[in-house]
Subunit: 552 residues, 2 copies
């Protein structure tokens, strides 16, 4: 069990039947939807897993009536839970809970139905933490068949929205679906084709205008704004920005190197939209933060979502007048859709999408990072030699800005006669059978893409792809700044079929002249984050279908 | 001649006898010291090269007395020069001169002595430009033996300072010398061991306090400060920052890939100092620039040095309150040495050193980049397929922030018994014959180094080097900001000799998780700029000397 728990601790998600390099088959018991960041098993029964629990204290315990546990719910000053027939006062643990305040769903009752949803907890490390808060046993008078009744909990995913059938689904609870290649050629991704990366369920907010955002200043003072307040009080900005999951192209790393934990995204965990909202900087200034010269102890800005997801960004980014961090209520001119954060989300351009917290209801000015697992664990990279079993999580910084990336999203063989018909022959001066390649390139931190290099012969020779128009400039009406590149550049290359020899490669260069690494193994990390080695695709010379998948 | 001129245009500098892939031997005629950026031949005679000049106009020309030419000197409204017996009014060319205002040295007289110093001009492209400004011939009454007397010019390098003998000299006129490996282990590079990268001579400024800096605002208004004014009027800051030439490790690219133009630096075109001065932002604000919200047409800040070197940085960097751009008058607690910009230089941390203009005497707030060749030509990177003959210079942006870099600077075999004696056995838990490696890692843009990976077996397996203490935090007393990493991190690794198989490799990762490319060829650029593929060094298992050079 210990070994199994350790593997769950790593949020193992693999395609097929292998969990790690030991090739232990994954247990089928939990019937799992495993997601990067959290492993879920939404079991409809509340089947006990107590047989695996640690031995309980042999000393004489305090007996506690179930009714008293129920009183220590989220409205109380102290929070109690029970597991089996043991009762715990977890008040002191709540602020340290890696998953944030979602833990308050369970207080006043049994942990078990929740741990059957959030199966990540079913491991010795968590049992050990829990035992520190043991305060007594359920009074035997309240036991039924020798067990405390765990009750039922509502399926938090039951009100999730329907998704477009064209999305490539990696998990449903939570929803994680990537944009299909056919939609990645659009500069602005249509809303319903925008990739969905949820860590939990979609909160069910009914009234956008009355949704409240609480800003907690460094001295603890809180200022509240409804979404209606934000719209009314602050200048509105629109920014075209690309969001990219840290797991984009993870499947490429897995295929080229070794198994990685997390969802096996292809090239489509990335999309672009025009986002409209108000500047975080302006809201913070209004709430009372000195955005010109904040207290030097202030280092981070935390975001909390309504579903209890949490993350943070450096305060410098939050208040940078060219940082363009927005509180967004509109996407591509439409009200923000539920999957993308309705009614309010953060938009942290240039940073990994995990910092653009959705369903935003709290902002905290702080001297420390968010304590969530999404800040302190999942979104980090270690060396290729660091295994998943016991990494020193604190040794690596949380991913914020992302490295330069590119991918091939379309490969089409075009016969000479069709080339002429399409006008491409004239544009490119080609009269022979050719291959048309298309894709995107994107760098974090607002860095521009300065060049996309394409090789038709596995990296032996190179040529430059044609960068397509920078749609962000057209789309970002009212953008506070056009110095930074917050959105991808799409590119196209037309290559004579005779030049093709082996795999096509693409690599991009950003304006710090950072480049993508040649291969995956030297940047392998067990979480499979930031997989940005050259994208290689096998293309046949004739018009046979492309060999090798672009996506998954 | 045309072919030769083209090669000079590319500022060709190669070791040995090969100029380019055509293997044409370099002409010995000019007895050359060729430097990246400018090719010089300081000939003591004023030998004419007019045999190569274009045909002169066959039409009847205006005859001009030599005295009249002399009157059109740098104090006049219009600038005339002569070459052979042709006279040119170059007034309109001066602002477009890639080498900046150094051209004013020649006005009122003959170009020839200067073109014998700055031999880059001896090519058809330049002759063609000059002919556009032809206005007449020297009156035959002023010719001596059929030629106009060219006069003598003073050797501008004659007052250059003496340099430390330990520096590795790449050229003397101008001085370009790298820091020896033995000095790269020092966190703060001693002043006399700090690498020297001069593009021209060292200006001879005698009185530091009375040296004037002119700040030209966007409306053309000028404000002057003496260095004494700067010291008196503005708050003083000290910052520990690493400067790195864009050519650092160029020789590695050349060896691994193909010939590159420019000085063939090893690992030592990089050094670190603690710089003291005033913030550019504060000076600009005092001069009248709205540094909170400058006119949106303002995009760049130009620097001009007393020797006429020029470069620019984006205005955002210049006014960023965390950008830490300083006007420096002190280095490691000493007055700025002559080779490093006495009495005043710019320090643009996180950017390529070519932007930290020395002997600073003018700053210009502008809507465009510096027009100098060092901004618009030399310091750029093109694709591996782009040849040196006719690149589209405007297609690549000027290098500003630099990509992540690392190098091995020391390799020592240590026998087990010496390991014990040194205490390293205890520190590293090693009791066998081992190899100790040391080096540096550095990223541009203020990005921190988060990890240095070392491979003892040519990249097959990896381990993490130990990052040495971040000396910048100790050194940067009074630093306005400690969020950005402006200085290198040094590292050390101790590896059992038995693990060694093939070349040692090192690569670093910055906090945007950008990494160095695996190999050189895919980032080859004919200028050999930003050579940052993994550094590979062949180390023998026993205590034989290291095979393969670290430096050149």
């Amino acid at each position: 069990m210990r070994e199994y728990a350790d593997r769950i601790l790593m949020h193992t998600a693999v395609r097929g039947s292998q969990v790690d390099r030991n090739k232990t088959p994954i247990s089928p018991v939990l019937g799992i939807v495993i997601a990067a960041g959290l492993a879920y098993s939404f079991a409809t029964s509340t089947r006990s897993v107590l047989a695996e629990a640690p031995n309980e204290s042999p000393t004489k315990e305090r007996l506690i009536r179930l009714e008293e546990v129920h009183e220590h719910n989220r409205t109380a000053d102290t929070y109690w839970v029970f597991r089996g027939d043991s009762v715990y006062d977890i008040t002191d643990w709540v602020p340290n809970h890696p998953g944030g305040e979602v833990i308050l769903r369970a207080v006043g009752g049994s942990l078990e139905p929740y741990w059957n949803i959030f199966t990540i907890h079913q491991k010795q490390d968590v049992y050990d933490i829990l035992e520190q808060y043991f305060i007594g046993k359920i009074d035997p008078r309240d036991l039924v068949d020798g067990k405390a009744p765990t009750g039922q909990v509502e399926d938090p995913f039951k009100s999730d929205p329907k998704r477009d059938a064209a999305l490539i689904q990696h998990s449903t609870r939570p929803c994680n679906s990537e944009t299909p290649e056919s939609e990645l050629g659009s500069y602005i991704t249509p809303i319903e084709k925008f990739y969905v990366r949820n860590h939990l369920w979609v909160p069910d907010v009914h009234d956008a205008d009355s949704h409240r955002l609480t800003v907690e200043l460094y001295d603890g003072e809180e200022v509240e704004y409804t979404v209606a307040d934000l719209r009314k009080k602050f200048k509105e900005y629109s920014i075209t920005a690309t969001l990219q999951c840290s797991g984009n192209r993870r499947s490429h790393m897995t295929q080229a190197s070794r198994p990685t934990t997390g969802l096996q995204w292809g090239v489509g965990a990335i999309s672009t939209a025009t986002w409209t909202g108000v500047r975080l900087r302006d809201v913070l200034a209004d709430a009372g933060l000195d955005v010109q010269d904040p207290d030097e102890d202030i280092k981070h800005l935390k975001f909390v979502g309504a579903e209890a997801y949490g993350a943070s960004i450096p305060i410098d980014k939050a208040i940078d007048r060219h940082g363009d961090v927005l509180l967004v209520y509109s996407m591509n001119g439409q009200p923000l859709p539920r999957d993308h954060g309705f009614p309010l989300r953060a938009l942290v351009p240039g940073h990994v999408a995990a910092r653009s917290v959705k369903w935003l209801n709290k902002i905290v000015v702080s001297d420390e990072e968010s304590s969530s697992q999404w800040q302190r664990r999942d979104y980090k990279c270690f060396g290729p030699n660091v295994g998943a079993s016991h990494p020193d999580w604190d040794a690596a910084p949380a991913i914020q800005e992302t490295p330069v990336q590119s991918a091939i999203t379309a490969v089409r063989q075009v016969k000479a006669d069709r080339l002429k018909d399409s006008g491409l022959a004239r544009v490119y001066g080609l009269e022979e059978d050719s291959v048309v390649l298309e894709g995107y390139a994107f760098a974090g931190g607002g860095r521009h893409i300065v060049r996309v290099d394409i090789s038709p012969d596995r990296g032996r020779t190179w040529m430059q792809a044609q960068l397509q128009e920078d749609g962000a400039k057209m789309g970002a009406s009212g953008s506070p700044d056009d110095h930074r590149a917050w959105a991808w550049r799409q590119w196209r290359a037309v290559v004579p079929a005779t030049q093709i020899s082996g795999k096509f490669c693409v690599k991009a260069t950003d304006d710090s002249y950072n480049v993508q690494p040649d291969t995956f193994e030297p940047t392998y990390n067990f979480r499979g984050n930031l997989a940005n080695a050259w994208h290689r695709v096998l293309v046949s010379r004739d018009d046979k279908p492309v060999e090798g998948q672009l996506g998954k």
